[in-house]
Each structure stands twice: as structure tokens, then as C-alpha cells.
Symmetry: C2
Subunit: 307 residues, 2 copies
């Protein structure tokens, strides 16, 4: 990649799927268009899951036909099983994500499958990706802490990551699904994984539930990780009262990386209108910790006529 | 100190002085009492400045007579000049803070004195502290960036810090007054300062305006800094619209340090009722990024009858 750090935007999938309001396919394409216009170059566009289970993601095949055909943008789609994989590829997906929870109980409670069963399904999809020339990516969810089992075994995360790599995954994304990771844990786990897998094939997905997402990003950066998930305006991952933080907001991530002098491929300020678009489409108030400051910068430049 | 990291609570001074509503001396003592009850062991209690200039801090001498006489709690007071110093010591202050902005323009605009004049005044007060057996502490403000001059010269910050140390300061507190620091800057400056001054005599004061305060704390921790300022509920330092972040919230700082396994002398959850107290007294909505999550933990434990 030509940037120092790659931001993978997950709002259109991870963000929207937890919203009460279901957007139309056209509205989802509009949000993605706004992200592309701002300069985002990696986007999780949707998922190929049962529309009965997740109505917010119905019609992702139609969405793929509407995606802005920007050459520099890589779209990915989440698939839960081989049927989803076939649908994704038929719709034109070139990058496919699977999700593998790192604890037995999370798999049982979440999808009524054992950890071993889920691992097999994910490994088979990664193998198919390799055969078909599709870019396969594997999320290891609850990689730091599980709501049912507490702190996650780092050796299990390591062995699941290795297994996904062996099966053909081009990338493993380490996800703090419940926002419970702290920088010390991140340093420990990512140090190990970077040693065994290499930083280029790793990414991190942090939630901001306890306000530590950016500190966790910094800890992972210090270990060499150069790709992170985030969600525009902090959309989604919001299990508590309105305003409580779920997903790390893309504008917070972008501003910190930019402030540190890292090239992310676009200016953080360009995300301000995208947050407004996401607010209009979803009907909820959004914005990360830095959003008011960023919005004020944009306003004062517009008033001053500056760049 | 007996903790791994010392949290110095600045809400009763830095937080309250920017509020539209002026609390009574009794209310200020109530807030401090709640902080002490939660286990906070270092508190900036008030300032000895002109009540005409800062009415919110009027009567700090009376406040000192009302402070909970907990042996393990160290109170400090801000003084702007020698007259303030004399008043502070007469009121019983044992720790005295001075503030020295690191740029010429900030000193001129803020207190109509040159950088050299302010440095002399602060150095004299630090010398008096040493003579009188008072613990003197010097803030170096706008240490990373100045609203008038842009990025602050690190060599100026170093030389001002050295001069305060030579004059007798027991501690130098490096302050990101406008919340513009990023972790890369923090690493650079604190690495230098720890090398020349030693970590034990340094502290950092971060604002959360751009959402990076905890990441900056982590960067400073990685350089060996073990003392940080914060303000309960993020009180104060809030120059923009309501809800915009100013001061780093004490509960955010405490939760991150606690999550990382560091002893801070109390449980982060104990700050939840203190935030409520601060909200009731000031009449504004408070709470750092982690507050809703922390409050929910407290509620669920109360409902479950747990500890």
C-alpha cells in the first residue's frame, strides 16, 4: 500500500448492522460514496448473511452493483458460511471476511457452533479464497476478552491466527469485540503475533467502550501494526445508552495518525461531512471524541475562506 | 509514593475556574471531600489569585480550613505571584504550583508579561518554597503547541524545566494546555526530559480536546512518567460546545491504568459517585469516555449485590 497506515472503514457493515433503522441499498451506497469521496481506500461494504437474521444487510448483492468503481478502493464483504461466500463472489466481491470467535462459549452462544466447527468453516472459506484468487481475511473476535469466559487465552488466539494463515488468509484481524482490551494486553498479544505472522498481514479492530481505543491503537502501532478498522462517527458497536462509545470513530483514528505525521491517504477534516451524511441517513447523533474539534476547524476555514 | 502511578486531581481548581457558575467554598469542600472519599491522594484544591480576576476561586484561604485532614492526601494550590504565595502559605498550603507558559506570545496575551519576566517570578517563588520548606511545583504550559505560535520549541521547554528545577521546584508538570499534543510529540519531549530531569520529578497534564489524551498518557508512561493530572468527569478545559472534551477525565485515566494492572491506590469505579456529585454541584453534564460503562458496572453490581 502507498500509505503509512491503512484505515479500513467498517461503518457500512459493522456500523449499520446494529442500527434499529434499516437503510435502503441506495442509502448504503450513498454512505459508501461519501467515504470514497473523502479518500477512504478500504471499506467493509456489507455482508452476505440471511436477510431474516440481519435485515440491515439485505441486498448486499445489489449494493455491490452500485459501489463507486474507484480503482484505488478495496471493498470487502463479511460471509458467515460457504453459501455466503458463493453469493459474495457471484456479486463481484474480491475480498471476503470471515469471523472466528476465540472462545468456545462465544461461538456456542453466538452461532450455536463449537469453536472447532467454526474454525473448520472459516478455514474452508479461506482455502476456497486461495483457490479462486479471492483475497481472504479472517477476524479473530473476542481476542482479548470474552463476555462469557473473561480474559482470552493468547495462545488460542495465536493458534487460530496461524490456522487461518495456513488455510490461506491474506490477513488476520485481531478484534477487541467488547472493547475490553487495554494497552498492556495489546502490546503483549501484538508483539507475539507480529513475531510469528509479520506486521503486514495483521490488522486490529478496537472498540471504544472504555475510552481506550486510541491508546490501544498506539500500543499496536508501537509493535509495527499498520492497519486498523474504524467506523465513521463511531457508528455501531453501541451496546449501552446513546452516546456511549462502541466502535472506534474513523475521524479519531485518522486525526491521531495524521497528527503523528503518518500518511493515511487523505486529510482527517474530510471526514466531517461524511459524519454528517451518516447522521442524516441513520437519524442518530454521531461523532467521535475529536469530532466537535474537527468540525470547528472545518467551519472556521470555510468562514475564513482558507484551504 | 506507594502507588504505581499517582493521579493528581485538578477539577477543584482547573476544572471549576472555567465554569460559569461559581460554587460556594462549602460546595468546593464537598467536591474535594467526595474525591478524598473515593481514594484520590493528590488534589489541586484551589488558587490564590485575585477574586476579581477569577471569582470562582475566591475564598481559597477559607477552603483550606475546610479541607479533609486526611494524612495520605496532598493538597496543592496555584499561585500567580509572591503575594499569592504568601496568602497560600498563610492559609496552610504545603504544596504550591506556579504556571509558566513556554512561549513569548502566550505570556504576553495571557498575563501581559514577557516570558523572561514570568520565568523570573516563577523562579523566585520556587526559591522561596525551598527556603520555607514548601513543596514547589512548576507547570510548563503550552509545552507542545501554542495557540499563537504553533508548535512549541522543545529546547525552550527543556531549558525552562531545568531553570525551574535549579530554582528549587520539586516537580515540573508538562502541560498540553490546548489539547494539541500527539503521542509522537509526547514520546520525543518526555524521552528528553526523563533523560535530563528523571521521571520521578516529572508529571504530565493532557487535555482531551482531540481525543488523544489517553494515547498521550500511554506515550508518557512508556517513557517512565508515573504522575498525571486529570479532572473528575472531564470538568473544565472545555472551550467549545457542551460535550466537547477539555481536561482528561479522571475516571478515564484511572480505568486505563487500573486495566493495565497498575496500582493507583483506589478502584476506578469509586469515581462514579464523585462524577455525580460534581454534576449536582456544577449543574452541568459530565463524564469521560468510559463513564457510561463504569456507571453501568456500578449499577449492575449494586443490583446483583456484588462487591
Amino acid at each position: 500500500m502507498s500509505v503509512d497506515v491503512l484505515i479500513n472503514e467498517v461503518g457500512p457493515r459493522d456500523g449499520l448492522q446494529s442500527q434499529g433503522k434499516t437503510l435502503t441499498v441506495g442509502q448504503r451506497a450513498e454512505l459508501i460514496g461519501a467515504l470514497v469521496d473523502a479518500g477512504i481506500s478500504a471499506i467493509e461494504a456489507g455482508s452476505f448473511v440471511s436477510p431474516k437474521a440481519v435485515p440491515q444487510m439485505a441486498g448486499t448483492n445489489e449494493l455491490y452493483a452500485l459501489l463507486p468503481a474507484a480503482e484505488h478502493v478495496a471493498y470487502s464483504a463479511l460471509v458467515p458460511n460457504m453459501r455466503g461466500y458463493d453469493l459474495a463472489v457471484a456479486a463481484g466481491a474480491r475480498t471476503v471476511n470471515v469471523v472466528l470467535s476465540a472462545t468456545e462459549t462465544m461461538n456456542q452462544k453466538n452461532i450455536r457452533m463449537s469453536l472447532e466447527q467454526t474454525t473448520s468453516v472459516c478455514a474452508e472459506i479461506m482455502q476456497r479464497c486461495r483457490q479462486d484468487g479471492i483475497n481472504g481475511q479472517a477476524y479473530v473476535a473476542v481476542a482479548f476478552s470474552c463476555p462469557f469466559e473473561g480474559e482470552t487465552s493468547q495462545s488460542v488466539v495465536r493458534s487460530l491466527s496461524d490456522r487461518m494463515m495456513e488455510a490461506g488468509a491474506g490477513k488476520v484481524i485481531i478484534a477487541d469485540t467488547i472493547g475490553a482490551a487495554n494497552p498492556r494486553q495489546v502490546t503483549g498479544l501484538m508483539h507475539d503475533l507480529v513475531g510469528s505472522i509479520s506486521a503486514e498481514r495483521l490488522s486490529c479492530h478496537f472498540h471504544d467502550t472504555r475510552g481506550m481505543a486510541l491508546a490501544n491503537v498506539l500500543a499496536a502501532l508501537n509493535e509495527g501494526v499498520r492497519e486498523f478498522d474504524s467506523s465513521i462517527g463511531g457508528l455501531g458497536g453501541c451496546p449501552f445508552s446513546p452516546g456511549a462509545s462502541g466502535n472506534l470513530a474513523t475521524e479519531d483514528l485518522a486525526l491521531m495518525l495524521e497528527s503523528m505525521g503518518m500518511d493515511i491517504g487523505f486529510a482527517a477534516q474530510r471526514l466531517v461531512p461524511v459524519v454528517r451524511t451518516a447522521e442524516r441517513l441513520t437519524g442518530i447523533t454521531l461523532g467521535g471524541h475529536s469530532f466537535r474539534w474537527l468540525a470547528r476547524q472545518v467551519e472556521s476555514e470555510e468562514q475564513g475562506g482558507g484551504a
